[in-house]
Amino acid sequence: MTATAVTDARQNIRPGHTLQTGVDRIRVELLQYMRRSDALVFTFLFPVLLYVIFASAFSAVDPMLIVGDEQVTQPQYYLPAMLAAGVFLSGVQNLGIEIAVERNDGTLQRLAATPLPVLAYCIGKLGQLVITSIVQAALLLAVAVLAFGIELPTEPERWLTLAWVFFLALVCFAVLGVVIAQLPRSVSSAAAVVIPVALALQFISGIFLPFAILPEWLQTIANAFPLAWVGHGFRSALLPDIARFLEVGEAWSLPMVAIVLGAWAVAGSVVAAVTFRWIKRG
């Protein structure tokens, strides 16, 4: 019957389907993100709130470092740390919990029943992460400048550093979020598994405490993970050059930032691509 033949031809997937559906996923993910008030408070605004608390609490404290007429104040020092925390929380914590929840509540099974490619789903998640993180970072910088009088760098190469560390960090934390989402077995355990690990890593990676005051063995552990290097990269971009005296080895090491983040991003992508399944087949 010709009718059937026509039907078959009509229903083949067109080229460009992955990209088209991926872009539509970004739209749908953003809509859902904006409507979820817990995501808005705990992920989106959390680093900004934390920054306001830290910067207010320590604004009267003596600067951390004075060299000649240059200084590094506490509000200055916490700005790159909270930027790093924002990217980290949006990627590893929020994305990780979100995918785990979608896996367990049947959302992924429903998507698995359609011709939506896994890659399009990932494009949607990454797109949501990139867009919300950029807005979040802009908000944080605006609060720092307007409320705490922080001076942002004027040299283009510092902004370039900020940009590449930012995007490498996003990719890195996004794929780690996908990997972490495979671990929790139920919706209720997703947050319980992800949050403590994320919190511990933030403490040892110089997000809440200056990295240099940590014991050397903790620094060694933290340096194996990407978060400490994201903080380091952001500090090198946003703080006056003298701030390097607060770093381990008293120097900036941007190549190491690129190497560690790149390695984690590549390894994470491979593990994510191999382990990601719409559903666990019973």
Partner: protein, 295 residues
């Protein structure tokens, strides 16, 4: 290929541990046919359907849907399949129109979104978030998502759970329309009138085994459909199974109370068949094996 059956199931078996929940089930569904899979809770209906959807891996036997092994079905195959699961998570934050618009873009030859919303009777709720709808309304969203891609084979696992009577009638009409477009439909339901209304053929499954497989108006055999004459007299309620009900009625004295002639409906036949089965709570075949060993 248009004459080949849309669904071919041969000796399909699923075991969880030592429990056999689907036990050598075989049937075919022709192109354009509507097939109902009926059976009590835990019979293995959803397990069977989900193996056909590629969501569970069979322990034995084989399944082909549109000529493809469901576990190997790629994107082109998925675009020709529609799935309404027994239980689905709700993308609660999206509105009815948003989620349908998105799914319409995922399938290559989708139905019109507003038309589909109207077909499931949700036009006035199109702008409401799915999570804020009532249970029956959310179920209608599930059905709309199942048909939005204009599937060639549509799997409906208890699609009308929670529907009010009016919504159920509307759903029947929708399914008849979808079927008249040439869509092959596999339906599971506990509403036997629904199966009677919609299905061409049915299979009855219990304890994982297929007990009957036939056209909906023949299932259970002619004997099971013998008309029944019922009335009441001084000595109580009377009931006669007969192929000549008119003759029986004519032979009755006077004008008996509560006189009726009924033809057993699918539900009566189904219940008789299930009652005749030994009630085994799923672990049936293990029990049978033990008996065999003992004997």
């Amino acid at each position: 290929m248009s004459t080949a059956p849309a669904v071919v199931v041969d000796g399909l078996t699923k075991r969880y541990g030592d429990r056999t929940v689907v036990d050598g089930v075989s049937f075919e569904i022709g192109r354009g046919e509507t097939f109902a899979l009926l059976g009590p809770n835990g019979a293995g209906k959803s397990t069977t359907v989900e193996m056909l959807e590629g969501f569970r891996t069979p322990t034995g036997g084989s399944a082909r849907v549109l000529g493809v092994d469901p576990r190997q079905g790629g994107r082109d195959w998925r675009s020709r399949i529609g799935v309404v699961l027994q239980s689905t998570g709700q993308a609660g934050a999206l509105t009815v129109r948003e989620i349908l618009t998105h799914f319409a873009r995922v399938f290559p030859a989708s139905r019109d979104v507003d038309e589909t919303i109207a077909a499931v009777g949700l036009t006035e709720h199109a702008k409401r978030r799915v999570g804020k709808l009532s249970g029956g309304q959310q179920r209608r969203v599930d059905v709309a998502l199942g048909i939005i891609g204009r599937p060639e084979v549509l799997f409906l696992d208890e699609p009308t759970t929670g529907f009010d009577p009016q919504a159920r009638r509307r759903f029947w009409q929708l399914i008849r329309d979808v079927a008249s477009d040439g869509t092959t439909i596999l339906l599971t339901t506990h509403y036997l009138d629904e199966a009677e209304q919609l299905a061409d053929r049915a299979g009855i499954i219990a304890g994982g085994r297929l007990l009957a497989l036939d056209a909906i108006d023949r299932i259970g055999g002619a004997e099971a459909r013998t008309p029944i004459v019922r009335w009441a007299d001084a000595s109580g309620r009377q009931e006669v199974h007969t192929h000549e009900p008119a003759a029986v009625v004519r032979g009755l004295p006077g004008e008996p109370d509560e006189l009726e002639i009924v033809r057993p409906r699918l539900e009566d036949i189904y219940l008789a068949m299930i009652d005749a089965e030994p009630a085994d709570e799923g672990g049936g075949s293990a029990a049978r094996e033990t008996e065999e060993v003992a004997a």
